[in-house]
Amino acid sequence: MSTPDSELDRHLRALFAGLDTGADFDARLMARLRAESHTEANERALRAQQERARYRQAVSELQSWRRSVLRLVTLDTLGIGLLLVVAVVAAWPHLGRDVMDLSRQYGRYIVMLLAILTAAVPLVGMWAEQTRGPLRSP
């Protein structure tokens, strides 16, 4: 085997210059890409479906939480009203004459105001719920 530079170059070129993929490489790759594209579209659709389901569940949980908060606030207000009534009844015999006079004069208005406030709490809650608008799935 002779070894001048140019001959080595010639041999190396002959060995490696023609190195290439098989003839059907592009066709095989495009077929795989088409299959991949199909799989990707299916996965995307599945992900979107899962996302919608998650959103619906979150909306349902939020609505349920809002309803329970409203119930809790209503019950709290009723409880506070009842406690006030009990406190007034219990303190009534020990109240001074001035307070008795004042309460005789304004008692009905105070009771009416408290009753309106107690009734207004759930109504305000419901109004707030309505004005926020219903949550919808995307």
């Binding site: 085997m1 002779s2 070894t3 530079d5 080595l8 170059d9 041999h11 190396l12 070129r13 002959a14 060995l15 490696f16 210059a17 023609g18 190195l19 290439d20 993929t21 098989g22 490489f25 592009d26 095989r28 790759l29 495009m30 795989r32 890409l33 991949e36 594209s37 990707e40």
Partner: protein, 175 residues
């Protein structure tokens, strides 16, 4: 880049394929030394490129990006399969024979010997030699493909050629 932005990935790949197929295949082959495995890796590289095209931001050049994917894919494939095949395996020899339809008997002997010598080179020198003679002898292209400075490629090439020449001289002296 416009095709990528327009999410026309198939068209983008159809444009990239003729420009990079042979180069990516050569790069994979320089790592794997197995034609079939190199083709598989080349397919994987283009599928990865197709998947990742929407995320390509153009900060690096397209060729640098593709070669990085190709190097990583080749290294993964190399780690996944052991033992390594050799350039002087019968099937590689057969592939070499098929490159030149009518080689003379002397040329075949010379090429087989050269192939064995290339096979015995250190990995990086072997890769540089293969890619240099595959890629129309461009130092810059080989440097981009292997992610090395051009100077390193020149040094590796010089050392590889010196080794090959010395080994070839030794072979002819003993023949």
């Amino acid at each position: 880049m416009e095709l990528v932005r327009a999410e026309r990935r198939d068209e983008a790949i159809a444009l990239l394929l003729p420009a990079f197929r042979r180069k990516v295949f050569g790069l994979a082959y320089s790592f794997l030394r197995d034609r079939e495995a190199a083709e598989d890796v080349t397919q994987e590289v283009f599928i990865k490129v197709w998947r990742a095209l929407p995320g390509f931001d153009g900060r690096a050049s397209m060729s640098t990006w593709i070669y990085t994917i190709a190097r990583n894919a080749s290294l993964s494939a190399l780690r996944a399969r052991r033992p390594q095949s050799s350039l002087s395996d019968p099937e590689v020899m057969q592939a070499v024979e098929s490159l030149d339809p009518v080689p003379s008997a002397d040329a075949m002997v010379d090429r087989a010997a050269i192939l064995r010598l290339v096979d015995q080179l250190p990995t990086k020198q072997r890769q540089v030699i293969m890619l240099f003679y595959m890629q129309a002898q461009s130092h810059e292209e080989v440097a981009t493909m292997l992610g090395m400075p051009v100077g390193t490629v020149k040094t590796l090439l010089h050392r590889a050629r010196a080794r090959l020449q010395a080994a070839a001289a030794q072979v002819s002296a003993t023949a």
